[in-house]
Symmetry: C2
Subunit: 115 residues, 2 copies
Amino acid sequence: MDELDVSLLRGTLDLLILKAVSWGPRHGYAVAEWIGEATGESLLIGEGTLYPALHRLERQGLVEAEWGLSDNNRTAKFYALSRTGRRRLQAGSSSWHRFVEAAGRALRAAGPVTA
Amino acid sequence: MDELDVSLLRGTLDLLILKAVSWGPRHGYAVAEWIGEATGESLLIGEGTLYPALHRLERQGLVEAEWGLSDNNRTAKFYALSRTGRRRLQAGSSSWHRFVEAAGRALRAAGPVTA
DNA sequence: CGCTCTCCCCTTGCGTCACAAGGGGAGGGC
DNA sequence: GCCCTCCCCTTGTGACGCAAGGGGAGAGCG
């Protein structure tokens, strides 16, 4: 009943990261923490998953990175949501919900054709 | 507003295929058709996606294949859900819904900490 | 009889991605 | 001085969705 082994994180991770920085800049480590908290520890992403994803999003211009100091006085790279990133987050969320709704309906279907 | 380009089909496809054959044997082509219908044409999977997936599921013992004749009198390979396949479908569906619920909650979150 | 259309099967190659496993540096308490 | 936590990164590997290819066999139609 703990973390899900499900590998369907695919495609959802980017959205979650964008969401994590949608209220202001956050550094990578904090992004991972937020995702963990926000999903009730259901989704724990490793650093080998997180950082490549952040770099990917940066390369796509969806987030912008800048070095700074964390609350604990540690050097950290802060990521901020760009304008296109925000649009992407909205569009992506919408797509995501539609996809999930469609698939969920199919998975809950009772009969083959119900004819 | 048509088909979704989203690549988060990852991990969901297997479940949909298992569901498609959960009411009795179905051949590959028909599986793809059912998924299309059941998702309101939101999810249209190509043959290059479908067949490898079917073979994968067969290799894992979740479905069993057998040659037969389709409604149109064509030679076709029918896939039937095995016992372990059915268990997998139930467990997978449950995991899927929990995952989706957790991620959905995070994506809909209003504030960072609401503190 | 040939033609074409639909149905139904398959494979190879490519790009992407989650993940495990590795490595490093710098602050702060003891 | 030591270790723990925080915070960054990379390389390699396996898995997978997908486009693009190829083929064969039934059925309507001229």
